[in-house]
Symmetry: C2
Subunit: 323 residues, 2 copies
């Protein structure tokens, strides 16, 4: 949550001049994104592009060779009436440019705010939007391997090791056996599309109960659509600590999704194991970050137990969690 | 440069509803201010207030009892055609509210960007804007003591101590004798007004060569107008390291100022000592921060030597620095 690079007004004005968006009027570094720097930029505008944009500088984690995939996906989904910001191309038609060796992209600004405490009506709208992305993206001519699947989660947890996991929480080493078990049951042949795979409330902009934008597609990959629904279910239907399940929110999310795309009986049957895999991904990444971050760092560490609790819930409830 | 407090969309919507500005449409935490959290907020708007605002939460440093002074000053200057954002008052007429014990204010958004490498034309416009503030503020019915004057700078440097100062840079202990010398020569009876006292390029928004806004008045106080011009001269006329003086920028700043308000012969004669006092303020605060910040902290420490170099320049040049 920071701006990692200083861009002077002079740098910004020179960059903006490479696009048909008018002259620079305002630029504020915004506290969004953990691996990017972002600015909310205003210009005098042009007929084709509006006046407000998010300028993103890709600082780390994102492989530059993946950037054409991510940015083309935004353009494709936007053109197919999904609530997704499109990329503004420069005068030469490029979707991104580089400054001092770092890639930058100018992206459409869409209004809306991210909710902390979603209502059922909001979750329903998110389900609708997610299904529309899945259906549209089946025709998208691009693919990217999911690098954060269940095998990777197991590997990360094993690399953390039982001792370090137990030091975070005595119940956390149980994730090791759970990961092996979930991996053994993982369904490899469910209907796939390009999926968001990280649709937390932070990555959805809403106006009241309407979805105005799905954002931050930098984990998008080709994988099972039902897995994406399971990730979203785990991200939206619990309090942050994973202690309380909101049945009405979870139900509304799935109902909204199915109003656009009906799940097959097999997808439904697989939801509990997919949700457990989703939880293990966040248990693993949070445990890894926790071990790598000093307790007195300025960055707030996220508790991996918040997702182990969700996993326990999905394991106990089975398909009833998605009724 | 961070957002220190999380405000949920639900908190923000509830806050915004206390003002006659329409409904919340967007809110982005912005990376500005070292002692405040700030959000760029968009609403559906109202006839009287526009659609975009800066929401500021006062986190530290600022005494809540000073807030009515700062906010009333913005309103006064804005009403007197100075390029200063006004405060939006809530439905009960209050200039600020409190959330969880912290004060928040909704402030007019003004366009513009802060320049890194000012031109003479830009410096001239800043001189004009500064003089207009000084002239207007003489009629402002409020006063606040300067708590960061030369006596305080000397006290801070002495509290740092010779050993700690020398550990930063072997030339830095010289600031102790310089502070005593400058304090002994300090002119106590120059024409006063309410001054900004911290008008670095960061605190000026520009559109081309025009000043669109002076911002961040949270060091404003009652003090000599020529001192404020000297602070601004030291802040604008050098490269960041204080190694290179841009004579054309410095000259344009003073010329712009005098196009609105002519300096008396005595004020002119005092500029060199006022500028040395201005430099000592930043030498002192930077030395204090340096000593208080671990070398491996995420926060970048600012080098006090950058202002000791400026002080050396003003001492050597005398009134020629302002020719």
């Amino acid at each position: 949550m920071a701006v990692y690079t200083h861009l002077s007004a002079e740098d910004l004005a020179e960059l903006i001049a490479q696009y048909d968006v008018g002259r620079l009027v305002s630029a504020k570094g915004i506290a969004e994104g953990v691996s990017n720097s972002n600015w909310l930029v205003e210009t005098t505008g042009s007929a084709s592009a509006g006046t407000r944009f998010i300028l993103t500088m890709y600082e780390r984690r994102i492989e530059i060779e993946d950037l054409p995939f991510f940015l083309a996906l935004l353009d494709f989904l936007s053109a197919h009436d999904c609530p997704v910001p499109r990329t503004i191309h420069d005068r030469q038609g490029s979707a991104f440019r580089t400054i001092d060796g770092k890639a930058v992209a100018l992206i459409e600004f869409l209004p809306g705010v991210s909710v902390d405490h979603p209502t059922a009506a909001q979750a329903r709208a998110v389900g609708v939007a997610l299904a529309r992305v899945h259906v549209a993206a089946r025709d998208f001519d691009g693919a990217r391997t999911n690098t954060l699947g269940i095998a990777e989660s197991r590997r990360v947890l094993e690399a953390c090791g039982e001792v370090a996991l137990a030091a975070i929480d005595p119940r956390l080493p149980a994730a090791l056996a759970l990961a092996a078990d979930v991996e053994a049951q993982w369904p490899g042949d469910l209907p796939a599309s390009v999926i968001h795979s990280d649709l937390f409330p932070d990555n959805v902009l809403m106006l009241g109960a309407d979805v105005s934008a799905l954002i931050d597609f930098y984990f998008a990959c080709t994988d099972a659509m039902a897995y994406d629904l399971a990730v979203t279910h785990a991200a939206w239907s619990f309090d942050k600590a994973g202690e309380t399940f909101s049945e009405d929110v979870g139900t509304a999310l799935v109902e909204g999704y199915e109003s656009i795309r009906t799940l097959s009986a097999r997808e439904r049957a697989c939801l509990p194991i997919l949700a457990q895999g989703a939880c293990l991904r966040f248990v693993a990444s949070r445990a890894e970050d926790w071990i790598g971050t000093p307790a007195d760092a300025l960055v707030t560490r996220k508790d991996p137990m918040a997702f182990l609790r969700r996993l326990d819930f999905y394991r106990a409830q089975g398909t009833a969690a998605f009724a």
